[in-house]
């Protein structure tokens, strides 16, 4: 378990706040990802947990041991924290063999030769590099270096594992493969893991919990499924995947099962409140993922959230068609199945199921940061929110 409370890290004498009041917990045996754009403070948070950076304020516990507490002046140095870490540059020592690299933590712990050999080989076996043990470290490929770094991080059986963008130096194919391997090994060993990345797909695929960071703060924290389906803010919604953000006025409770209803440019629309809170006031914004906009030529049977629309543009993307529809003057982006063979100018039916439309209650204004509390302002002019 890693528990971080009220973590603040300032640089340059307080002029740069890289991490700003961050609190989160990594439950034992789970993998938590810190996800966010470049410069948002992910690496700094991770390095604070590792002890490579001294936080300005806050407390860090690893497995119920307080390793840092600014208030009580506790700061356990990194070499006493019993953690494993994989660096973005891998930091494979070039003057040692693969075996020497992996054996280093055990040799430091003054372990017996035989035991070192056994554990190093077991660790290399785990990452599938057992036959490269005698190889000199500089002659490894990127993927192999990455595996050596992982084996070295795991060999001393640390309590927690920290990974800083471990896949960003690999090519796309290898990245996918290593992603799966890391997840598999993490689950097999049941090791508590904190993972940093700026790649949203990677974060969704690998994590038990995703924490989205922006400007030094954690702006959303939850399961990948929840984060994707019902992000806390427009910023999170747009950072993770592509979505329509639709402005809604006149919000009032709908007749059944706690859903809400409101007026949009497309017409009347039913949607779900956010898990945490119901929007107050008359206005909100609603998030609809592209794949949740259903496009068909026959009229759907449902009676709510069904509109008539016209196809404005169609982009063939292999797996699906990416199209933009005009629904009563509102531009809606959708993913249609390839077999629908939509044509530009065609009139179609559009359906959005109410449980696929979620209110973004903290970001009515839609200033894109998601960091500020909601303030009621005018409706958002364009409802099509493309990904960056």
């Amino acid at each position: 378990m890693i528990r971080v409370t009220g973590l603040v890290k300032e640089f340059a004498g307080g002029s740069v706040r890289a991490v700003d009041e961050v609190s989160f917990e990594v439950p034992t045996g789970e993998l938590v990802t810190l996800l966010g754009p470049s410069g948002c403070g992910k690496t700094t948070s991770l390095r604070c947990v590792a002890g490579l950076e001294e936080p300005t304020y806050g407390r860090i516990e690893i497995d119920d041991r307080v390793v840092f507490d600014a208030a009580r002046n506790i700061a356990v140095p990194p070499n006493k924290r019993r953690i494993g870490m994989v660096f973005q540059s891998y930091a494979i020592w070039p003057h040692m063999t693969v075996f020497g690299n992996v054996a280093y933590p055990l040799r430091t712990a003054k372990m017996k030769k035989r035991e070192i050999h056994e554990r190093v080989m077991a660790s290399l076996e785990l990452v599938g590099l057992a036959d490269l043990a005698p190889r000199g470290a500089p002659n490894l490929s990127g993927g192999q270096q990455q595996r050596v770094a992982l084996a070295r991080a795991l060999v001393a059986e640390p309590e927690v594992l920290l990974l800083d963008e471990p896949l960003s130096n690999l090519d796309a194919k290898l990245r996918e493969q290593m992603r799966q391997e890391i997840r598999e090994i993490q689950q097999r060993l049941g090791i508590t893991t904190l993972y940093v990345t700026h790649d949203q797909i990677e974060a969704l695929a690998i994590s038990d919990i995703v924490g989205v960071m922006s400007g030094g703060k954690i702006v959303d924290f939850g399961s990948p499924e929840r984060i994707y389906r019902a992000p806390k803010s427009r910023f999170v919604a747009q950072f993770i995947g592509v979505a329509n953000v639709i402005a809604v006025n006149d919000v009032r409770p709908a007749s059944e099962n706690g859903s809400l209803q409101g007026a949009t440019q497309m017409g009347s629309m039913s949607f779900h409140p956010d898990e945490a809170a119901t929007p107050t006031g008359g206005q909100t914004a609603v998030l609809v993922r592209l794949e949740d906009v259903e496009v068909s030529r026959e009229r759907p049977t449902a009676d709510r959230n069904v509109w008539r629309g016209r196809v404005i543009s169609v982009l063939f993307l292999g797996t699906h068609l990416d199209c933009i529809l005009d629904v009563n003057g509102h531009r809606l982006r959708a993913q249609a199945a390839r077999r629908t063979k939509l044509e530009v100018g065609e009139e179609v039916w559009v359906q959005i199921r109410p449980d696929h439309a979620t209110a973004l209650c903290d970001d009515v204004a839609g200033d894109g940061t998601g960091a500020r509390p909601a303030k009621p302002t005018q409706t958002v002019p364009s409802a099509v929110a493309g990904a960056a």
């Binding site: 490579l52 990194p78 070499n79 891998y90 930091a91 020592w93 933590p105 500089p138 130096n169």
Partner: protein, 602 residues
């Protein structure tokens, strides 16, 4: 750096190969050269000039070492004068002593300067010691000070009879009677030369430290190792190749250095190879045979070391691992210890630059031709401007200023012209044999300046052209000496030029020359300017080569300093030295401003 004949051969054939000569490789090469147009002619001319700069010293030195005659004598060129007797003479008389002194001196300088420079590099790059910029700045300034000045300053500080430090020690420590420090000893020489080599080792080692990915050390900390274990098992081995490279360069420096062995070693009867070359050349009667044998030995040693150095630095490529992002330096927090490191660094700098400069300033205001008083208030009361007045009244020093200014400007312009052609041809054209030009331009770096000086002396003494005894020999010498240095500065900015820029210009139908003038030259300007200024500064204060070829009436600044010292006027030299430092300082300031304005980073 290969200096063998095989390197020279292709130029020769290229130069002689006429467009329609015999078929085969030479013919094809020549035809391609011919088709390359004016570029080829410039290429040929540059090759000849550069080849001459390498070949003259080499051939002259080796020939002289096998000649029983003297350069300039009638029978110098006749094969009948060839003999190995110079070698047998050299190896019998005093060889072992000179070799021993040279080895001890060089090894001592290497070790001491590596320890001091390594310490400063570590402090500046890897710790949070205060005033790190000041430390770097002072080391850079130290690099500009001509070697004669700190050397004589240390003689003033630590000579056994009147040395200021010696008198301090006697006055302040009750149980010290008589001189403790003696600069005229091997340890004294090692100390003074180490402080001179310090900025170089500092710069090289801090570059090495900076190039290391700090997460290598962090990975070790995470693995449970402490700071000491990390330093011993990770940091040190990872930068070892760079350290070895630096050590080799320091060894070469120690081996070829002129000022300390001649100014301190010679009067202290500590004879090294360089002293042998110097005394046998300039002594009356001179013994060019012996001098040239020692010169050949020094040269052979330096060439071997440079070869070794190139092997090392080539292999270090293997020691770098890929990394996605630029490293952010993460200095260690030393806590209170940072005041200790600061104090130690400042102490080193006091010895390296503070005390010598103070000594010079003090001496420059002291009454001439009297023993220098220690730094006390009573000494202050005797202050005089007589030494400065003396500098301006002395014909030699004024002449030397004029000559050096002319030579510095001339050498800078010629060298820059030469290397811009070389750089252009090697990087941006497809002329066959262009890599050779690059090697030729770099090759003289393996020839120590002392040897460059003696070989130019012998070469022009034995030629019927009236160059010896004029300023022109100095100009030729400086151009040869500083071409490789300027190549270093230049090559970085050269590679930045995109091929396509030039090709785009050529595509619009402009000629090769036009493309060079309108596209390449403006782009090269910052690099050229930086090289020119750098060459200018170095040439202005050159001593160790000039001292061999100058003649009465043709003195330059370095030589003037040397001869004032020879006249026994420490105070006069101090005043002249301070003035020279001011000029060099202003020149360097201009260089720094110009190159920062044009975005050149050194």
């Amino acid at each position: 750096m290969a200096l063998s004949g095989e390197l020279i051969e292709p130029t020769a054939s290229g130069a002689l190969g006429l467009p329609h000569s015999t078929p085969g490789r030479v013919g094809r090469l020549a035809r391609r050269l011919y088709r390359a147009g004016p570029a080829a002619w410039i290429f040929l001319a540059a090759s000849l000039v550069l080849a001459y700069q390498v070949l003259v010293p080499l051939v002259t030195m080796i020939w002289t070492s096998f000649s029983s005659s003297q350069p300039g004598a009638e029978d110098f060129f006749s094969a009948s004068s060839l003999t190995t007797s110079n070698y047998t003479r050299a190896f019998s008389a005093g060889f072992a002593r000179a070799a021993g002194n040279t080895v001890v001196f060089t090894a001592g300088v290497t070790v001491v300067s590596a320890i001091l420079g390594g310490f400063l590099a570590w402090v500046v790059v890897r710790t949070n010691t205060p005033l790190r910029r000041l430390i770097t700045g002072l080391c850079l300034i130290r690099l500009l000070i001509p070697g004669v000045l700190p050397t004589v300053a240390w003689i003033g500080l630590a000579n056994p009879s009147t040395g200021v430090l010696n008198r301090w020690l006697q006055d302040w420590i009750p149980w010290v009677h008589g001189p403790v420090l003696n600069v005229y000893s091997l340890p004294g020489m090692i100390w003074v030369e180490s402080l001179d080599a310090l900025p170089l080792t500092f710069l090289l080692l801090s570059a090495a430290l900076r190039s290391m990915d700090p997460s290598m050390e962090e990975a070790s900390l995470i693995s449970g190792a402490g700071r000491l274990r990390t330093a011993l098992h990770i940091t040190f081995p990872v930068i070892l190749p760079a350290i070895l490279g630096t050590l080799i360069l320091t060894v070469i420096r120690g081996f070829e250095t002129f000022e300390v062995p001649v100014l301190i070693g010679l009067p202290g009867h500590i004879i090294t190879f360089v002293v042998e070359v110097y005394t046998n050349t300039t002594g009356v009667p001179s013994d060019t045979g012996l001098a040239s044998v020692y010169a050949v030995l020094v040269l052979a040693f330096c060439v071997c070391l440079i070869w070794l150095y190139n092997r090392f630095t080539r292999n270090t490529a293997m020691f770098t691992t890929v990394s996605g992002k630029a490293f952010r330096p993460r200095p260690a927090n030393l806590g209170r210890g940072r005041w200790v490191t600061l104090a130690a660094s400042l102490l080193i700098l006091v010895f390296s630059i503070g005390l010598p400069l103070l000594m010079l300033l003090w001496a420059s205001f002291s009454p001439p031709f009297r023993p220098i008083q220690p730094f006390t208030a009573s000494g202050l009361s005797h202050f005089t401007l007589a030494n400065y007045a003396g500098v301006f009244r002395n014909d030699t020093t004024v002449r030397a200023f004029v000559h050096s200014t002319f030579l510095a400007a001339g050498a800078a312009v010629i060298v820059v012209l030469l290397i811009s052609i070389v750089a252009w041809v090697t990087v941006k054209t497809k002329i066959p044999g262009r890599k050779l030009l690059d090697h030729l331009a770099f090759a003289p770096i393996a020839i120590p300046s002392v040897l460059m000086g003696v070989s130019f002396l012998w070469f022009y003494l034995s030629l019927p052209v009236p160059v010896y005894g004029t300023l022109w020999i100095l100009l030729l010498l400086y151009v040869a000496r500083f071409t490789p240095v300027a190549m270093r500065v230049m090559s970085a900015s050269m590679t930045q030029i995109d091929d396509e820029l030039i090709e785009a210009s050529m595509m619009t139908g402009s000629s090769w020359w036009r493309a060079f003038r309108t596209v390449a030259l403006p782009l090269l300007k910052p690099g050229l300017l930086a090289s020119a200024l750098y060459v200018g500064v170095l040439a202005f204060r050159e001593l160790s080569a000039s001292v061999f070829v100058y003649t009465g009436g043709n003195e330059v600044v370095g030589v003037a300093m040397f001869s004032i010292w020879g006249d026994g006027s420490f105070t006069g030299l101090a005043a002249f030295g301070i003035l020279v430092l001011l000029v060099v300082g202003v020149l360097s300031l201009v260089a720094a401003i110009v190159s920062s304005r044009f975005g050149v980073r050194k």
